[in-house]
């Protein structure tokens, strides 16, 4: 056989999983991210007493497709003096970083996207941080004063909160003892409880840090419209902008996955080791079947035949999926699929809940001003995260010396909380006495 062909075949044989998963990620994740955008718009509308996209497709379900088509057929505008190569490269870097970091995430016990790396969390964090490069390059390549200012501000914010988030993750890693994703979830199974209950302060810090890291409200000043500087995305239009945008939403999914893995038990069902709750294993199929039943109930209330038909279609789809979830229980040969399938369901449910909290906060809270944002990150979150790492470390030390794990962790959490309260109150008193009308030079000036 031709040696080159042979080499290629061997290569494919060794790496076919990773290659397919790469293709799958690039094909599926942008679509999913597009639908996350639709979910956000519908949720926003619901919280604002309106309906959201309704025109394109039934209840606006084809809206992301329409948006993608529109963005693809837009004129490609590049600013005059812009560096063309970097201008092209920047959104690509941003998107690539977000998609690549998805490769190490695992949805289920043997359900890794690409491969279960032994440094899984580190890989995800590191690669998703490469996305910051895309932001700076994008701002610089636009050759606009306001773009570079916005890019620098955005990057400053991301770096600061990445530090705090990283320190919070360390607390979780201390509890699990390993960096690999499946190892962390296995540790939570071993402890019989999600890490959010063992290290709540770390989970909260990571929540705040991840909101800031993905440039979501209340930390979205660099990309807010009413801000004078429209941010690094100003000069990008059409599909280039779409790449940035999808990269941001893919980042949200990544960050949600990290939080779920570390703090929410990954693919474990609630109470994974409590045997009398084993009936919870039927919940995925049951929940989806119930959604199908609700769809049938609503089908009767639709005013128009088309909508009734649509509701029936949704119900049938739900029942089909529920059947897929339920079938392995009845077909013996498929029983090996159960942990993976159910695990994927729980994982996706938790990631969705996390992203729901993101969206909820966006629609409720006003925006932080940039200096308040940086003040929060550096003066409050990072000291708190450092103290929290110490606290969890001390708890682990106490545990290895015989103290009950729960007692140790509760004590150290209380200490951290007291520190947090004192820190916040001290800062409040400091900002009250400082006058805002001072003309001192601002270190965040562009």
């Amino acid at each position: 056989m031709n040696p080159t062909l042979h080499a290629i075949l061997v290569f494919l044989q060794t790496w076919w999983v990773e290659l397919t998963s790469g293709v799958v990620i690039v094909a599926v994740v942008p679509l999913v991210a597009g639908y996350v955008v639709l979910v956000e718009r519908k949720l926003m509308a619901d919280m604002q007493a309106r309906l959201g996209p309704m025109r394109v497709g039934p209840h606006g379900l084809l809206q992301p497709i329409a948006d993608a088509v529109k963005l693809l057929i837009k004129e490609d505008i590049i600013p005059d003096e812009a560096d063309r190569l970097i201008f092209w490269l920047a959104p690509v870097i941003s998107m690539t970083a977000a998609l690549t970091s998805m490769g190490a995430i695992a949805f289920g016990p043997s359900f890794q996207v690409a491969r279960d790396i032994n440094i899984g969390i580190l890989f995800v964090l590191g690669v998703s941080s490469l996305g910051f490069l895309g932001i700076i390059l994008g701002g610089w390549a636009s050759n606009s004063h306001y773009s570079i200012m916005g890019a620098l501000r955005s990057t400053a914010q991301l770096v600061s909160y990445e530090t705090a988030g990283g320190l919070a993750i360390i607390a979780g890693l201390l509890l699990s003892g390993t960096l690999s994703i499946s190892g962390i979830v296995a540790a939570q199974e071993k402890y019989h409880v999600w890490f959010i209950f063992l290290a709540p302060v770390a989970a909260f810090i990571y929540l705040v840090a991840s909101i800031a890291e993905t440039n979501r409200a209340p930390f979205d000043l660099p990309e807010a419209e009413s801000e004078l500087v429209a941010g690094y995305m100003t000069e990008y239009s059409g599909f280039r902008w779409a790449l940035y945008f999808l990269g941001e939403y893919a980042n949200m999914i990544v960050v949600g996955s990290i939080a779920t893995t570390l703090f929410l038990g990954g693919w474990l069902r609630p109470f994974p080791n409590v045997h009398w709750l084993n009936w919870l294993d039927f919940l995925p199929a049951l929940i989806i079947a119930l959604i199908g039943v609700y769809s049938i109930y609503r089908a009767g209330k639709q005013p128009v035949m088309v909508q009734t038909g649509f509701m029936w279609a949704v119900a049938l789809a739900c029942f089909a999926v529920a059947l897929i979830f339920a079938m392995p229980w009845f077909v013996g040969t498929l029983k090996f699929v159960i942990p993976g399938l159910n695990g994927a369901f729980w994982f996706l449910l938790k990631v969705s809940a996390y992203i729901y909290v993101f969206m909820w906060l966006r629609f409720t809270l006003p925006r932080y001003r940039f200096d308040q944002l940086m003040h929060l990150g550096w003066y409050i979150l990072i000291p708190l995260a450092i103290v929290n790492v110490f606290a969890v470390g001390v708890a682990m030390l106490l545990e290895s010396n015989g103290v009950n794990r729960w007692l140790a962790l509760i004590l150290t959490t209380l200490v951290t909380l007291v520190f947090a309260i004192l820190l916040v109150r001290w800062h409040d008193r400091r900002t009250e006495s400082a006058s805002t009308a001072s003309l001192a030079p601002d270190s965040y000036a562009g």
């Binding site: 926003m44 919280m47 604002q48 007493a49 309106r50 409200a217 209340p218 979205d220 000043l221 807010a224 419209e225 009413s226 801000e227 004078l228 966006r362 629609f363 409720t364 809270l365 006003p366 925006r367 932080y368 001003r369 940039f370 200096d371 308040q372 006058s435 805002t436 009308a437 001072s438 003309l439 030079p441 601002d442 965040y444 000036a445 562009g446």
Partner: protein, 376 residues
């Protein structure tokens, strides 16, 4: 006075200052307003407002129209609160004619004006919150305002530029069910105000964005002529509806909300409380609307005796005054409109000094300006 900062180029580090231009097209300037900011890094050293993009020459037009024909023009100044503008103008001409609107007309005018005050403050609250980043209050406010506009539409056929009042009284009788609908709105509104308060008032991000931002103390307010909620937030307990009552305001009991610091947060609290008080006025008014005529003794041709009159009312934005000079003909000789937003906008320079660029948007929002009124 305000140009001194713009002339002085020296900064702490000796660098040149940056002039940043906001508008006239800008999502947060609430109309066509151009603000030139002189920045030292991120701090604002001074501003210069360029206005006049919406100047339509109402005062000149009014000299070529009869008194009744001027009335629709004044709606279009502060188009967010058209009924207040109409009230001020009609009362000013009635003063010129020495005619009083009958009691029934005065009470219905009061109800509509107070509903309009609530609607104007709802627009202000929604857009101000949106500028600061809270996306949701806008839609809640618009939902409430929709109810008020439905009442206006049933009363006079228009939602925005209503031309609801006539010189001497009203043209339209209150429709069947007017009292019921106003009452239903007012009873429901308290719960809604609580929604906005829950979302914003105790929120530490909101407080951080509005406390000590754009402070204007009482002396500066009076010196600069700023009136309305700006003056009250600075601590001056003064409201033209109580000081020199017009329409039917002397019959109703209401409080004047006052702030302490004169910052953006106080102005927010004052306007929220004003909405509550307007609601109370409406509830008191609809309990007893007197029967009788709705139009006073005014002929078809309005020819006031020569002379002049100045009449001002407490519009939602501040003191709205009309100075009308008559030369005993059917057309006014001079109509001067004292626009609250024009005079309040002068205070922007003083309020913005020393703040960050991100605060400028919040401060422009808290002034509650409508460019139609600033430019006329």
């Amino acid at each position: 006075m305000q140009d001194d900062a713009l002339q002085d180029n020296s900064t702490l580090l000796g660098a040149d200052e940056l002039i940043l231009n906001m508008g006239p097209q800008h999502p947060s300037t609430h109309g066509v307003l151009r603000v030139k900011l002189k920045l030292d890094g991120e701090r604002v050293r001074g501003t210069e407002c360029v206005i006049g993009y919406l100047h339509r020459g109402v005062e000149k037009i009014a000299e070529n129209r009869t008194y009744q024909q001027v009335a629709p023009y004044v709606d279009r100044m502060d188009y967010v609160a058209a009924i207040s503008n109409g009230l001020g103008y009609c009362e000013a001409v009635e003063k010129l004619l020495n005619v009083e609107a009958p009691p029934r007309a005065r009470v219905i005018r009061t109800i509509l004006t107070e509903l309009q005050r609530i609607a104007s403050h709802l627009v202000w609250l929604g857009t101000h919150a949106l500028d600061i980043g809270a996306l949701t209050p806008l839609f809640y406010c618009m939902r409430e305002r929709e109810e008020i506009l439905k009442i206006f539409e049933k009363y006079c056929g228009a939602r925005l530029t209503t031309h609801a009042f006539r010189i001497g009284g009203l043209q339209y009788e209150a429709y069947d069910g007017f009292e019921k609908e106003v009452e239903r709105f007012c009873l429901d509104f308290e719960r809604r105000i609580q929604e906005y308060v829950d979302l914003l008032t105790g929120n530490s991000i909101w407080i951080g964005r509005t406390r000590n931002v754009g402070v204007l103390n009482a002396a500066d307010c009076i010196a600069l002529g700023a009136s309305g909620p700006i003056l009250r937030a600075a601590g001056v307990k003064w409201d033209l509806r109580k000081a020199q009552p017009y329409a039917a305001y002397d019959q109703y009991k209401f409080e004047i909300p006052v702030g302490t610091n004169g910052d953006t947060y106080d102005r927010y609290m004052v306007r929220i409380e004003e909405m509550r008080q307007s609601r109370l006025i409406c509830l008191q008014a609809i309990e007893k609307i007197p029967e009788g005529a709705i139009m006073g003794k005014v002929g078809k041709v309005i020819k006031p005796p020569a002379g002049e009159v100045y009449h001002s009312i407490e519009a939602p934005k501040g003191i709205l005054g009309y100075y009308i000079v008559s030369d005993a003909s059917t057309q006014p000789y001079r109509v001067r409109i004292r626009p609250p937003s024009f005079i309040n906008l002068q205070a922007l320079d003083k309020m913005v000094r020393g703040h960050l660029v991100a605060d400028v948007v919040a401060i422009i929002g808290t002034l509650d300006i409508v460019l139609g009124e600033v430019d006329r």
